[in-house]
Structure formats: C-alpha cells, structure tokens
C-alpha cells in the first residue's frame, strides 16, 4: 500500500501535441528512477498508449472488465518486461464512453493509488465527457502544449477547467520547441507561453525526430537511455516531479557560434 501516491492527469486540450508520448516516456523514466508507476489510458475513443509502449499485443483485459468485476485489477495490468516497475491499465472498448461516469474513473484511480507511487492518466483530447471523466480522478495535472497559437489557446481552456475542478498543482510542459525559430522570433518564446498561461514550467522538450523513430518501434526514448534531446528532457521532467532540482534548458543557449551571437544581439532591446 502506498500512502502518498500521486495521481497526475496529462492533458492538453488540442490533440496531437504530445500527451501520449509524454505519458509513456514519463512512465518509463519514473519507474526507472525507482517509483512504482502505472499509466492509465483514459482515451477510450482513440487509445494509443499501448502502442507507444509496445504493449499492444499483451493486452488481455482492460479497465472495462475491471469495472464490470469480470476480472481482478492485477489481471488487467500489463507489466512492462524491461521496466518491471511500470504497468499499463489499457483503455476499454470505445463503447465504454456511452456509460462511463466520473465516479468510475475515480474508483479505478483509487484502486491504482493503493498499489502505485505514481498514477499517470493519459487524458483524451477535447473538453467533453472523456475529459470530464478523466479530470474527476486527478489530483494534480501536467498541461502539455506546443508554442503555437491553437495549442496555447486550447491549453488555456483546459487550465480554466482544471482550476474549476480544484486540480492542483497544475504544471506546464512546452513541447516541440525549435530554438532556431525562437531565436528568429518566428515562434512564441518560452516566456510568452508561461506568461499567457500563468503556469510554472515543469519542462521544455525540443523538437526531435527520434520521437517518431521511437514510436515506430514502440520503445519510448527514455527506455534505452539514448542521448537524444527529447529523451533527456523527459528524464529531467521525471526527476523534477520526484523533487530533484534540475535546471531548465535555455533554448537560446542551444545554438552557439557567431550566428547565434548575432541573433542574440538582434534581440537586445535598444529603446
């Protein structure tokens, strides 16, 4: 039994900004750093967490059978072979959406909180019923967004709803950061996004092609200890969640040399 288990909702509002990738990588990293962790796919309509973790062929039961009491929780949990500290509770049939209630998600979460240090909930996109069910089970949240107007706008809606539901703390992960575009002021700056959304920054993830390679393989980047920028960022986010003081990355320092120096000079306020 874990007394101070943390249930964290990973949400974004907009789809395709990296919720599921963050959930998978964070799950692996937290488990590797010694915390027993479960990732719960709350996206019953369009589930993908199993695929990103490479566990899609090992699913027997899902959250649906657990709720219907046709199987025990430990029968439904899929343990990761290389990271035994990590388990997945798969999402049930999309038809679950028709009858699933916020109380159902709460009862699943409280069952998991008894067994794990961290319960990560991969939230569906949008702010409809799927979101409402997932948020009911959450105590704290990570909002992930990209430096794009549509993603930031949708994140803002979600933050408003998290506040109404009393979810706290809510922290921000900024994904797909391109230092070069930021230096050229053709991408919203990190400070712009944190100022607008008024959230503390939990992590910055640079745009990284390796993310696609890893999803192709079903092996999250944090699994193999690669040195890719995104892998490092996910690992640091996990450490910060676990209370370790890891400095945030500064995108403007990511590029060095004369061109970067000139770019920084061009951003100096002159009047």
């Amino acid at each position: 039994m874990t007394s101070n288990s943390r249930t964290i909702l990973i949400c974004s509002g907009k789809g395709g900004v990296g919720k599921t990738t963050l959930t998978a990588n964070l799950g692996i990293a937290l488990a590797q750093h010694g915390s027993s962790t479960v990732v719960l796919d709350a996206d019953f309509g369009l589930r993908n967490l199993d695929l990103l973790l490479g566990l899609e062929n090992r699913i027997v039961y899902t959250a649906q059978e657990v709720l219907a009491e046709t199987c025990r929780m430990d029968q439904a949990l899929v343990k990761h072979k290389q990271v035994p500290n990590l388990a997945l509770l798969p999402a049930g049939n999309p038809r679950m959406l028709e009858w699933l209630k916020p109380e159902d998600m709460q009862s699943i979460a409280s069952m998991l909180e008894k067994r794990f240090d961290y319960v990560l909930i991969d939230c569906p996109a949008g702010i409809e019923d799927g979101f409402k069910n997932a948020v009911a089970a959450a105590r704290e949240a990570i909002v992930i967004t990209t430096p794009e107007v549509s993603a930031v706008r949708d994140a803002d809606r979600v933050i408003g709803l998290l506040n109404t539901h009393g979810v706290s703390p809510v922290q921000l992960v900024l994904n797909r950061v391109r230092p070069k575009m930021m230096a050229n002021q053709e991408m919203l700056a990190v400070d712009d996004v944190t100022d607008i959304l008024a959230l503390p920054l939990l992590g910055l993830v640079l745009e990284d092609e390796q993310v696609i390679v890893s999803t192709n393989r079903g092996e999250p980047l944090t699994l193999n200890g690669t040195k890719s920028p995104a892998a490092k960022a996910y690992g640091n986010i996990a450490k910060r969640l676990q209370g370790e003081d890891v400095p945030l990355l500064d995108p403007s320092k990511e590029r060095s040399g004369l061109r970067a120096t000139v770019r920084r000079l061009m951003q100096t306020k002159i009047f």
């Binding site: 803002d156 002021q185 919203l188 712009d192 306020k269």
Partner: protein
C-alpha cells in the same frame, strides 16, 4: 523595440510572427476567458457609452471598451476621453 524590429521596419519587412502570435492570443484568450460573445460585448460597450454620455461629453470616436488579460485575470478596460469643449455642465435629461 529590439534591433531586429528596427531593421525590419527600416527595410519595410513584415515584423517577426512571434509578436503577432502573442498579440492575437492575448486578445482571443481575453474573450475565451470572459465567455462574452462579440455581440454581447458590443451591446455592453454601447450601453456603457450611453450611461457615461449622460454625465459627461465623451468622444465616441476615440472611446474604447475592451477586455484585457494579465495573469489569468480578465478585466474590462474603458478608455473614454472627454471632449475638450464642454457643451453643458448639467447632465442631459433622459
């Protein structure tokens, strides 16, 4: 103004898009957060003008009532300049 903005201006180039994105976002979020439709905001603006115009002579052309947001707090900000010429010292009757 940054050096980059100055150079852009001198060369007649479009300003970098991040600033535009920031301004557009701030405006759209002020509306999202207040849950006011543009029609309702417009109606409120007109009624505020009417009420204020009862007491002082304001410049309707220059006047502006808009939503502004800072730190997730949205405020209604009214900027209603008085006309230089004061036509009447008494409030207008209804």
């Amino acid at each position: 103004m940054t050096l980059r903005e100055l150079v852009d201006k001198l060369l007649g180039r479009q300003p970098a898009s991040a600033a535009t994105a920031r301004d557009r976002l701030q405006l759209v979020l002020a509306h999202d957060r207040s849950d006011l439709s543009p029609e309702l905001l417009d109606q409120m603006r007109r009624e505020i003008f009417e009420v204020v115009a009862k007491y002082v002579d304001i410049d309707l052309e220059e006047g502006d009532v808009s939503l502004e947001t800072e730190d997730r707090v949205t405020a209604l900000v009214a900027n209603l300049p008085f006309r230089r010429t004061i036509s009447s010292s008494n409030p207008k009757p209804d």
